[in-house]
């Protein structure tokens, strides 16, 4: 086998899986991740269907392996800027932003957070909690080393140069304000794109009242609200603190606008009902769906189990969220077009999975195209699902289109198969 390096862009489940499989063979893997932590979107989930395994526990060993593997070189807070050359000889420019905290010296004791005077919305927690300008995204984030947000750090943005509160609190000499952004040049033989997905901004769909009514949540907000390591430590506390008795879950939010079914929302919405029943057993839960998409051998059983526990499923044709005397209600037309009302304390929206907003610029950088929905396009969607028009560049996971975790993992394996078969 020729000795070749591989670049993997994105350290979510697909990117991590591919990196580990490649690294096992002795190849050098450069894993580039935009965020300060690895694990992607999956680590935001408390439990995953259908077996309700704890996602954090499930992924932690993989994350540790990625961090410890000698021949995986991880670039956090990094993005690909430029790519030249062709398969077998790509020249890659990486921009690595300064973390200001040493991955070697820091032991993750968290002593630096408290003294930091800055308070910011925590994006990882969907803005449901605050964080400091020096912080890790959530408890259990890996690597367990904070990063400083240079735009908001008073020392770094120059608003209060003398503030070195975190540095003074650090006992391990881990904080270095002089660290600079870096540009790195890499040479690789193949590139795997595993940049994942975004969720549709539900604010744009005004009929769902998101942003207008405080107790309308997105699915990702609910995932974090339910999580033990989330903003409420897993307590289902509503934004206005009202008691949670009745919950409406609306599927297919943005499906019509996007023109496709995201394939996973029905299942995670069913999972939410399971979650809610677990914490609020008497809660009344109603799911509003268009078509129940529960494909594959094990999903229907999970759905039936939840149905058994008292979930209610309504097929809707049209739907609108309104508020009457500050009480939320879902106005819907059922299959026959008959109008009905469901009163809810909380409404959860399951939005379409959409391409990452960076897809366009990355596609240009890589010299590959996007399909009509905006995801990266593969050479032949049906017969060669991970290869692109450009030899040596592969697309895996949700960067290629909506899919669940096992399908993302399978694609990672498939791309590894392709790369290793090419390098032999």
């Amino acid at each position: 086998m020729k000795k070749q390096n591989v670049l993997v862009i994105g350290a979510g489940v697909a990117g991590m899986e591919a990196s580990l499989l490649l690294a096992n063979t002795g190849l050098k893997v450069y894993l580039v991740e935009k965020e300060a932590l690895i694990g992607g979107q999956t680590i935001k989930f408390e439990e995953v269907y259908p077996n309700m395994e704890c996602a954090t526990c499930m992924l932690a060993p993989k994350q540790q392996e990625v961090l410890q593997k000698e021949n995986i070189e991880l670039f956090l807070l990094s993005e690909v800027e430029k790519i030249e050359g062709s398969a077998g000889g790509f020249k890659v420019k990486i921009k690595k932003k300064a973390r200001y905290v040493s991955l070697v010296n820091c032991i993750g004791c968290a002593a630096c957070y408290e003294p930091c005077p800055v308070s910011l919305d925590n994006e990882f927690e969907e803005g449901l909690s605050k964080k400091k300008a020096i912080a890790v995204a959530c408890a259990g984030a890996l690597p367990n080393v904070p990063a400083i947000d240079p735009e908001n750090c008073l020392h770094l943005n120059g608003k209060k140069k003398e503030c070195k509160a975190c540095q003074e609190a650090c006992m391990f000499d881990a904080i270095d304000f002089t660290e600079k952004d870096e540009k790195l040049d890499l040479e690789v033989g193949a590139i795997l794109v595993a940049t994942g997905f975004d969720l549709l901004e539900v604010k744009t769909l005004t009929q769902f009242g998101y942003g207008k009514y405080s107790n309308v949540y997105t699915a990702m907000e609910f995932e974090r609200l339910y999580s033990q390591n989330g903003p409420t430590e897993g307590k289902l506390i509503l934004r206005d603190n009202r008691a949670l008795k009745s919950i409406g879950i609306i599927h297919c939010v943005g499906r019509e606008e996007q023109g496709y079914c995201s394939g996973v929302c029905c299942m995670y919405s069913v999972k939410f009902a399971h979650f809610i029943k677990h914490k609020v057993p008497d809660a009344k839960i109603c799911q509003f769906y268009k078509d129940l998409c529960i494909p594959g051998k094990s999903h229907q059983k999970f759905y039936e189990d939840v149905l058994h526990k008292g979930g209610n499923f309504i097929h809707y044709q049209d739907i609108k969220v309104e508020s009457q005397n500050s009480n939320l209600q879902i106005n819907y037309g059922d299959g026959n077009g008959k109008k009905n009302i469901f009163k809810a304390d909380m409404i959860i929206l399951s939005p379409a999975m959409i391409p990452r907003k960076e897809t366009k610029s990355l596609a240009q950088t890589l010299g590959i195209s996007q399909e009509k929905r905006g995801f990266f396009s593969t050479q032949n969607e049906e017969l060669s699902p991970v290869t692109t028009e450009k030899k040596g560049i592969f697309i895996i996971g949700c960067a290629e289109g909506p899919k669940d975790i096992p399908d993302s993992i399978a694609q990672a394996g498939a791309a590894v198969g392709k790369v290793l078969s090419y390098f032999r």
């Binding site: 023109g259 496709y260 079914c261 998409c293 494909p295 969607e381 699902p385």
Partner: protein, 561 residues
């Protein structure tokens, strides 16, 4: 006893130092029997710390090492590496977690200190009973056996075969191609199933590193990852057998279809012109869709989810191919009316919905119904009775096409037994981990791909095949040896009564029964040290090499004292 146990307490900066009285810990521990030395250090995982430990191991001539620091998940491997470099067997080491389990948990310093002392004492008593364990290396054979010559099997072969890796393809029937070769025009970019299969078959036949056995079956499989021995039986030539040796096995045996006769509501087999999807594919392949009387149908009903109720799952591909049939009918027969009865439209891939919308625009009628749709004879025609949104209705048509559930292939359970891999409740092969490892089985080196795992479409089957190839490339590298787990179970011959209880709990198929000695035997190359057999053995004959009863007993005793 001449043990020289060294105990090192990490201050972990302020993390342990500020919350535990380390000097008191050292004082207590130093006086224990067999403890040669007890010391503290500011940060043992740092480079200075590791260097210090390595020097101590040599200088103090340590026979065992105990480190009291953080969680094993953080640094067990770090310190095992230090042992190895310093010439101490890494299994003569124990890491005690006094950070997460004492310092961070207990606010009272005195309480935390006494707890830390207990835990360290427990670790010392345990480590004294540790035995040297040696890593083993096993030579491997990089070749691969693929069972099943459908689209998945062919893709697996083509992905893997090369100068350094031979692939043997065993196909039960006379020709390659499987179910996909029976499919007519697939989705827009796919061409026909047959042309797809022809192309792949040709590539496989022309590849000198792929050896194809048709009309053959796998008769017996022995061995483990890297070293499987397989007996292949040739059906045509009676009793002729061939032995092959491979390092990995990929099962790609495909699926069967639910027989609509099992469900009387559809009148299949009794009413003329009620067809299954496969029968309709045959018509499409012949280029002529016609009724029994030879005339083209003027009205066709497509019924989804046939057998879903009985099987308990959605087969995930039927919605899309039913839409494909409907579109074909509309394109082929200008005046045909097509009605499609679905329960829920399952269109989970990004391009599916557009394909459906186009069908709607062609004038195909889609009716949302339930599982009770009935097909009855009505004169020369066929009546379809259905319920939609609470109302019962019916239509009369010339032809009905049923979309039956995908079910496990007929030999699935036989093969599962031979390979010692489990099936799930639906009867398909079961993944070792349905989320994180969707193509692997509990038997290392045995993979399952395509519809043998459950309903999948062609792209998914191809992906899984390539994924299994990726896993094999990654784990079975020509010329490289593999290192099996060291902390395995062992069975003491004198104690084993041969009851075979352990066989039933071993998830990895590592235990077999030796009929001559009348005892169970652990294959150390397969065992992963989970300990299930240790717990279940009624005669206490099995022990886990790094978790023996004396080790655990002493550890617990000290921790509770």
């Amino acid at each position: 006893m001449n043990d020289n146990i060294g105990v090192y307490v990490c201050e972990c900066g302020p993390n342990i130092k500020d919350r535990i009285e380390i000097d008191k810990v050292i004082e207590e521990i130093s006086s224990l029997e067999n403890v040669k030395t007890a010391k503290k250090f500011s940060l043992l995982c740092s480079n200075d710390g590791k260097k210090f430990l390595a020097e101590e191991i040599k200088k103090e001539e340590l026979t065992h090492l105990v480190v009291a620091a953080c969680s094993p998940r953080e640094h067990e491997q770090t310190f095992m590496n230090v042992c190895e470099e310093a010439g101490l067997n890494p299994y003569l080491f124990q890491l005690i977690n006094i950070r997460e389990q004492c310092a961070w948990m207990i606010s009272d310093k005195e309480e935390a200190t006494s707890r830390a002392i207990k835990y360290i004492r427990a670790g010392i008593s345990r480590v004294a009973l540790h035995k040297t364990l040696q890593k083993k290396e096993i030579e491997i054979n990089p070749d691969v056996l693929v069972i099943g010559g459908g689209i998945s099997g062919l893709e697996t072969c083509l992905s893997l075969a090369g100068a350094d890796r031979k692939v043997y393809l065993v196909e039960k029937t006379e020709s390659l191609g499987g179910m996909a070769s029976k499919l007519s025009q697939l989705l827009p970019q796919q061409g026909s199933g047959l042309s797809l299969i022809k192309e792949k078959t040709k590539l496989a036949e022309n590849n000198k590193n792929i050896k194809i056995f048709t009309s053959s079956e796998v008769n017996d499989v022995r061995g483990f990852l890297g070293n499987f021995e397989v007996t292949v039986k040739f059906n045509e030539k009676d009793s002729e057998e061939k032995e092959i040796r491979v390092g990995a096995i990929a099962v790609a045996t495909g699926f069967g279809l639910f027989d609509p006769k099992e469900s009387t509501q559809y009148g299949y087999g009794e009413i003329d012109n009620v067809l299954t999807a496969m029968e309709f594919e045959e018509m499409m392949n012949s280029g002529k869709v016609s009724l029994k009387n030879g005339k083209p149908p003027k009205s066709v009903a497509l019924i989804h989810c046939v057998g879903r109720k009985e099987r308990g799952y959605c087969s995930k591909v039927c919605c899309l191919y039913s839409i494909r049939f409907a579109r074909y009918l509309k394109d082929k027969l200008s005046d045909v009316s097509v009605t499609d009865f679905y329960i829920d439209l399952c269109l989970p891939h990004k391009a599916d919905q557009e394909y459906f919308e186009e069908a709607k625009n062609k004038g195909i009628r889609f009716i949302r119904s339930d599982e009770e749709t009935k097909v009855k004879k009505s004169g020369d025609k066929i009546a379809v009775e259905y319920k939609t949104e609470g109302k019962t209705d019916n239509i009369t048509v010339d032809m009905v096409v049923l979309a039956p559930a995908m079910i496990p292939a007929e030999d699935t359970s036989k093969l599962a037994e031979m390979l010692n891999i489990p099936l799930d409740v639906t009867g398909f092969f079961k993944e070792v981990h349905a989320i994180l490892d969707p193509v692997s089985t509990p038997i290392e080196g045995v993979y399952v791909v395509g519809c043998a795992l459950g309903p999948n479409n062609i792209p998914e089957s191809i992906i899984q095949s390539q994924a299994a190839a990726g896993k094999i490339f990654s784990s079975l590298i020509p010329g490289r040896k593999i290192e099996p787990e060291v902390k395995v179970s062992e069975i003491r011959e004198d104690f084993c009564t041969g009851c075979q209880t352990c066989l039933s709990v071993c998830f990895y198929g590592a235990i077999s029964f030796d009929p001559f000695k009348g005892i169970s035997v652990v294959n150390e190359a397969i065992c992963r040290g989970c300990g299930s057999c240790v717990g279940i053995c009624p005669s206490g004959a099995i022990r886990s090499k790094h978790f023996t009863y004396p080790q655990l007993y002493q550890e617990v005793l000290e921790a509770l004292r």
